[in-house]
């Protein structure tokens, strides 16, 4: 049970990251209502364990919990999806030119589908870097991965996004079932 002061501290440093929590959950789970449940559970868990949180970045701390809640939910509702890997065979060695995929710039639907076509572990790295603006170190902290793995994962994910955006029909059909 928390003291009043602790509660105010929680409201000050954790609650403001509710958007970040929901956004990450939405992209990992690819579903708005499951994301609401996961984010809500994460916030309540964070509140319960707030006594253990002492220092560090509260956003990274919260997003770690969000991520755990999301993968628990994925494993329960769509077993196997959390373990999906990238299909490297479809990547051409040269990679598409910017002209090929920058056409998607005004097509939100298409970009959304391209991002959702990545396996969860790659999707979350892109979301943390590009939408949340996290540094490599923060992403490593949130995902409990070594920085080198974050960097190579990010590079591969970006490569796949470019391909997905330049060849929408082929890549989107690959989306996990």
């Amino acid at each position: 049970m928390l003291e009043r002061q602790e509660r105010e501290r929680f409201e000050e440093c954790v609650l403001p990251h509710l958007d970040a929590a929901f956004n990450l959950a939405r992209w990992i789970l690819r579903d708005k209502s499951n994301a609401e449940d996961a984010a809500q559970e994460a916030l309540l868990r964070a509140y319960r364990f707030f006594g253990n949180y002492r220092a560090g970045d509260p956003r990274a701390w919260l997003l770690q919990i969000v991520r755990n809640c999301c993968y628990t939910s994925l494993r329960k509702n769509r077993p196997g999806e959390d373990l999906e890997e990238l299909d490297e065979s479809s990547i051409p060695s040269a990679g598409p030119t910017p002209e090929a995929f920058v056409m998607a710039i005004h097509d939100r639907e298409r970009v959304t589908r391209a991002l959702e076509s990545l396996p969860a572990h790659f999707r979350e790295i892109v979301v943390l870097r590009e939408l949340e603006g996290c540094s490599y170190k923060e992403i490593a902290e949130i995902t409990s991965l070594p920085i080198g793995t974050v960097m190579s994962g990010l590079a591969r994910a970006r490569q796949h996004l470019k391909v997905a955006l330049s060849e929408p029909h082929q890549k989107e059909a690959r989306r996990a079932v």
Partner: protein, 249 residues
């Protein structure tokens, strides 16, 4: 011509993750390396495409409200007031005990126990609304829910479905309220959930009581040697109605 730097190094530079010296070195390299320049342009184009699509999904207002209503509710009522109230009750109890004998003291203590029991039931209600916590046995059939409690607790609560009266039985679960085991019957009321906590009765508990905290209502009563506490965000009259249904039979 491919360049060995055009992979991770370009990306680290692009993401601002190189230190100042390494970044300056890379920039010098960039001027004479078309492969790295192209790789950098490609990363830039992707970032622009992602940014222009406004993919960030903000938390819906409903989620914000849910979190706000649940988090403070898990906190105890403001501590200083409660302490004060207890001391006053105790002092009054002692004084009255001197003046009027032990029975009155016992009655006051019963009152405060009943109040803390309802507060604990309210907290348990909020906890039950978290995903996956509402029911241990999910059934609208009273003949399934009732035997489920057998052997799990040392009493047999009466379990009835009031679907015809607007309170369909949704299931049951076990809970611990203020250190006491409770059988919980879960009912629906339109879009709301009602938790009915059933505990073995203790002496001196107030016969009927009700209240409201942060939009949640509760009503408690005594019946057939059990304490009943019904908690919900449904309106107070709904809970009165449910109590009447329990008392009817």
């Amino acid at each position: 011509m491919p360049c060995e730097l055009s992979g991770i190094e370009v990306q680290a530079y692009f993401d601002g993750e190189l230190d100042a010296v390494a970044a300056a070195n890379f920039e010098r390299h960039l001027q004479s390396c078309p492969a790295c320049a192209a790789a950098l342009a490609s990363e830039n184009a992707l970032r622009q495409t992602l940014a222009a699509s406004q993919l960030y999904q903000r938390a819906p207002a409903t989620l914000r409200q849910k979190v706000r209503s649940q988090i403070p509710a898990s906190f105890p009522a403001p501590a200083p007031k409660l302490q004060m109230w207890r001391w006053v009750a105790l002092a009054a109890g002692l004084l009255l005990a001197v003046l009027l004998g032990r029975e009155i003291f016992g009655f006051l203590r019963g009152q405060s126990e009943a109040t803390s029991l309802s507060a604990a039931a309210l907290d348990a209600h909020l906890r039950s609304l978290q995903p996956g916590h509402l029911t241990d046995v999910l059934s609208t059939d009273q003949h399934t829910v009732k035997p489920w409690f057998d052997g799990k607790i040392d009493f047999a609560p009466s379990v009835r479905d009031f679907a015809n009266d607007g309170f369909p039985l949704l299931g049951g679960r076990l809970d611990v309220i203020a250190g006491r085991t409770a059988a919980v019957l879960v009912y629906g009321r339109r879009k709301h959930v009602v938790n009915v906590f059933v505990l073995k009765s203790q002496a001196n508990a107030a016969s009927i009581d009700s209240g409201e905290r942060q939009g949640y209502h509760w009503i408690s009563w005594q019946q057939d040697g059990f304490n009943y506490i019904a908690v919900s965000d449904a309106a107070a009259p709904d809970l009165q109605e449910l109590r009447a249904l329990f008392l009817r039979e």
